[in-house]
C-alpha cells in the first residue's frame, strides 16, 4: 500500500481541541506534571497506609483491593467530621467567579485547573455516592461513577493546587478550595497515593525535627557558619543560644532559612537582630535543634499529620520553659499557627501572653496561640525607635514586595512587612493592586509542590506573579523581590531568572540585617552577600 502523501497527512492534523464535556476527557498523566510518588519507607515511618513502589505512568497503580470501600468510608467520615467539606460539596452554583483566579489555570490553560472544576472532580463523586439526586439522575445531576480513573485524576490535579486560596477570595459563597484540596489529598493518602516531596519531609520532620533531616549538631554548625560570615562583614560575632532552658523567647523558623540561599541571608538577619537586642536590651532568645522546622509538611498530608508535626512547637516551648514563641519568615507555617494550632494543640496555658519586653507592646492577636510573627515584632521595635538603622546601606536595592499567600490571605499580615521595608529601604515600589495584598498571586510552588521534576509546571503557575514583577522591573527598575516565606525564597530565584532576569530575591530580615547598626561594629564594606555596599564599589 502506498504511503499517504504529506498533504494527506497534514490535512488530518488539527490544532483545535475537541469540544467535549470535562467528564468525557480522560486524565492524561504526563511526565513533568506530577511529583514523584512517595518513598515507601517514609510512609511506613509515620504509619501511613499502603506504602509501596508504584509509578503514575503505569496502568496499574496497585491500589488496595477494597479501594472503593476505603474511599467511600473516607468521604463519609470526612463529611461527618468537617462541616465545611459538607457545605462546600453542596453549595457551589458553578458561577465561575473562581475559574480564572487560579495561577495554574492562568498559566497552563488546563480547564481542570479552574478551581470550580478541580472541586467538581470531588463533588461529582460526592453526588454519585452520597446524594439521592445523583444516585438516580447520574450525570444529569452532575454525578459520576467512582472508578480508578477518577482516583488518578484526583491525585494528578490535587497536587497541582498550592492551597493558596486566591480563588476563595472571589467565591461569593466563600468556598475554600484549599480545604477541598486538603480533603482530596487525604483521600488519596488513604490509598497510599502520596508524593515524595511531601512524604519524606514529613518523615524527616517527625524523626529529626526538620524537613531535610538535618541533625542537631549539623543544624548548630550551619548557624555558627552564618555567625562566621556576619563577623567577617561586621566585625561582630553573634553568640546564638541553643536549647536554653529558661530563655525568655523560643525562636522557630523554617529550616529553609538555615540551608537554602537566599534564605540563609535572612537567617543572618535574625541572628544579628537577636544579638543587637541582647546587647542593647538583654533579650534572651533561644533556638531549638529539636523544633528546628517551622514549616509543617503535615499540612499537605492530613489534618492529623499537621497536628502531629505542629505539636513539637508547644512541646519544646514547654520543655525549655520559655515565656512565648517567636516565629520566622515562613508561609504555611503561619497558616497552621494562625488557623489551626490553638484548636489542635492548644491551649498553651503554660506560656505567657506575648508582650514585647523591650517596648511593652501586647501582641493581642497572639494572645491565645502565644506565637508572634517576627515582622510584627520587628515592626514594633522600629515603631518605638528601638533599632538603629542605616537604610542607605540598601540603596543599591530597588525593591518590590510579594505578599506570601499564607501570611497575607491566611492571617492578614499586610502592613507590618511594608512598615519594616519603608524603614530599611529607600526605594520601594508596589506591584499592581490586583496582584498584591489579599489578591496576591502564589509563587506556584507551595503546598508541597516545590519539586524539581515539576519545575516547568511551577514556572507556569508562577507566571502571573512574575508578570507583575516584570511590570515594576520595566517601569521602575526594580531589581529585588522581597518576601516572607521560605518556599518563596527557594523558588523565586529560578522563576525570576526565567521570566524577569535581573531581579533577585530577599527576605525582609536580610534587609534589616544590612541596615542594622550593631553596637561596636566595624565600618561595613559589603552587605551580607559579600557584595559592595553603595559607595564602596571601588
Amino acid at each position: 500500500m502506498a504511503l499517504p502523501s504529506a498533504r494527506e497527512l497534514f490535512s488530518k492534523i488539527s490544532h483545535r481541541m475537541p469540544k467535549r464535556e470535562w467528564m468525557d476527557i480522560p486524565v492524561e498523566i504526563k511526565p513533568g506534571r506530577y511529583c514523584y510518588p512517595a518513598n515507601p519507607k517514609s510512609l511506613e515511618y509515620v504509619g501511613m497506609p499502603y506504602a509501596r513502589q508504584w509509578s503514575p505512568l503505569d496502568e496499574d497503580w496497585k491500589l488496595p483491593e477494597n479501594w472503593m470501600e476505603i474511599i467511600r468510608t473516607g468521604m463519609r467520615d470526612r463529611l461527618d467530621r468537617f462541616r465545611t467539606f459538607k457545605i462546600f460539596m453542596d453549595i457551589c452554583v458553578r458561577c465561575g467567579a473562581c475559574a480564572d483566579k487560579c495561577h495554574f489555570f492562568i498559566g497552563t490553560g488546563d480547564p481542570k485547573n479552574m478551581p470550580v472544576l478541580r472541586a467538581e472532580l470531588l463533588r461529582s463523586i460526592y453526588r454519585g455516592e452520597f446524594t439521592t439526586a445523583g444516585k438516580i439522575l447520574g450525570r444529569f445531576a452532575g454525578a459520576r461513577k467512582l472508578t480508578e480513573e477518577v482516583i488518578k485524576e484526583w491525585w494528578y490535579y490535587f497536587y497541582q493546587c498550592t492551597e493558596c486560596r486566591r480563588c476563595s477570595l472571589f467565591c461569593p459563597y466563600g468556598i475554600d478550595q484549599a480545604e477541598l484540596t486538603i480533603i482530596g489529598r487525604e483521600l488519596t493518602n488513604l490509598l497510599g497515593l502520596n508524593t515524595d516531596w511531601i512524604a519524606t519531609p514529613v518523615a524527616n520532620c517527625y524523626r529529626t525535627g526538620n524537613h531535610l533531616g538535618i541533625q542537631p549538631h549539623a543544624f548548630k554548625e550551619m548557624i555558627e557558619f552564618f555567625c562566621d560570615d556576619i563577623e567577617e562583614v561586621t566585625g561582630i560575632r553573634p553568640e546564638p543560644q541553643f536549647n536554653k532552658k529558661g530563655a525568655d523567647i523560643l525562636f522557630i523558623t523554617p529550616s529553609g532559612d538555615v540551608f537554602a540561599d537566599p534564605g540563609t541571608y535572612t537567617c543572618m538577619g535574625y541572628l544579628m537582630l537577636f544579638h543587637y537586642l541582647k546587647e542593647e536590651y538583654g533579650l534572651d532568645v533561644t533556638w531549638s535543634t529539636y523544633a528546628s522546622e517551622g514549616g509543617n509538611f503535615g499540612f499537605f498530608t492530613s489534618h492529623e499529620m499537621m497536628k502531629r508535626l505542629n505539636a513539637k512547637m508547644y512541646m519544646e516551648a514547654k520543655r525549655l520553659g520559655v515565656k512565648w514563641i517567636l516565629g520566622g519568615e515562613c508561609g504555611h507555617m503561619w497558616r497552621v499557627i494562625h488557623q489551626y494550632m490553638d484548636t489542635m494543640n492548644g491551649p498553651a496555658d503554660f506560656l505567657e501572653e506575648p508582650v514585647n519586653p523591650i517596648t511593652g507592646t501586647k501582641f493581642e492577636n497572639a494572645k491565645s496561640t502565644k506565637m508572634v510573627h517576627i515582622t510584627e515584632f520587628t515592626a514594633d521595635l522600629i515603631k518605638h525607635g528601638k533599632l538603629k538603622l542605616d537604610k542607605s546601606r540598601n540603596d543599591n536595592i530597588i525593591l518590590t514586595y510579594h505578599d506570601s499567600c499564607n501570611p497575607s490571605r491566611g492571617m492578614g499580615l499586610l502592613e507590618e512587612p511594608r512598615y519594616i521595608i519603608k524603614h530599611v529601604c529607600n526605594h520601594f515600589y508596589e506591584m499592581p493592586e490586583n496582584t498584591i495584598r489579599e489578591q496576591t498571586f502564589c509563587c506556584g510552588s507551595g503546598a508541597g509542590l516545590n519539586a524539581g521534576e515539576i519545575e516547568e509546571l511551577r514556572f507556569l503557575g508562577g507566571l502571573p506573579r512574575a508578570n507583575a514583577v516584570k511590570h515594576v522591573h520595566d517601569k521602575f527598575g526594580v531589581n529585588m523581590l522581597a518576601c516572607i516565606c521560605a518556599i518563596d525564597r527557594a523558588v523565586f530565584p529560578p522563576l525570576m531568572d526565567y521570566w524577569v532576569p535581573g531581579v533577585d530575591v530577599t527576605g525582609i530580615h536580610e534587609l534589616v540585617g544590612n541596615a542594622l547598626i550593631l553596637p561596636g561594629e566595624k565600618e561595613r564594606e559589603t552587605n551580607l552577600r559579600g557584595e559592595p555596599l553603595p559607595g564602596k564599589e571601588g
Binding site: M17, D100, I106, G109, P464, Y498
Partner: protein, 171 residues
C-alpha cells in the same frame, strides 16, 4: 494597489484571525478566557499573545524590522515553550500567519496580481520562523541550564561542607 497597503487595511481582521488560530491550540474554555479578559495582570498569557502578535505584525510591515522584534516573539514563545506543547505546535503561530494572510487577501492578491509581494512577505515570515526557533531553543536551554547549575552547585556545596574541597589560598 500593493500588498502592504492591504495588510494595513485588513490589519484588524488578520490579527483577530491570527489570535484565534493561536488560541485554537487550547481547550475552548481556556481560549475564551485568554481572549476575553483584557487585564494584563489577571490574564498575562492572553494579553501577551494579543499585544505581541500585533507588535510582531507591525514589525513585519516595516521596511526593516526593529531590534524589538525578538522581544515581542520572546514574550509569546517563553510561555508556549513551557505549556507542554510540541515544538512545532509551540511555534505554529508563526507558520500560520501565511495561511491567515492568504485566506484574508487571496481575492485581492489574485485580482491585482500581487504574487511577488506575497512571496516577499512569505520570506519575511520564514525569517520570523528562524528567529522563533532560536528563541524557543534559548528558552528550553535556559530551563535545562538552570537544572544543571542547581545540581552542580548542590554537589559542590556538599563536597565543600564535607571538607573534600580545598581552594587555593593566596600567597
Amino acid at each position: 494597489m500593493d500588498l502592504y497597503s492591504l495588510l494595513r487595511e485588513k490589519k484588524k481582521t488578520i490579527l483577530n484571525n491570527w489570535l484565534d488560530d493561536l488560541l485554537s491550540s487550547y481547550p475552548p474554555e481556556s481560549a475564551q478566557f485568554f481572549k476575553s479578559n483584557p487585564n494584563q495582570f489577571s490574564n498575562p498569557v492572553g494579553n501577551t499573545f494579543r499585544l505581541n502578535l500585533e507588535k510582531i505584525y507591525d514589525e513585519l510591515l516595516q521596511d526593516k524590522c526593529s531590534e524589538k522584534l525578538p522581544e515581542w516573539l520572546d514574550g509569546i514563545i517563553r510561555i508556549r515553550s513551557l505549556q507542554e506543547l510540541h515544538p512545532s505546535l509551540s511555534l505554529n503561530f508563526a507558520f500560520s500567519l501565511k495561511k491567515i494572510v492568504w485566506n484574508s487577501l487571496k481575492k485581492e492578491i489574485k485580482k491585482h496580481n500581487l504574487y511577488e509581494d506575497y512571496y516577499k512577505f512569505s520570506q519575511r515570515i520564514d525569517e520570523l520562523l528562524g528567529l522563533a526557533f532560536d528563541i524557543y531553543m534559548q528558552c528550553r536551554e535556559k530551563i535545562w541550564s538552570q537544572k544543571a547549575n542547581y545540581i552542580n552547585s548542590r554537589v559542590h556545596k556538599l563536597l565543600e561542607r564535607a571538607g573534600y574541597i580545598k581552594e587555593v589560598e593566596a600567597f
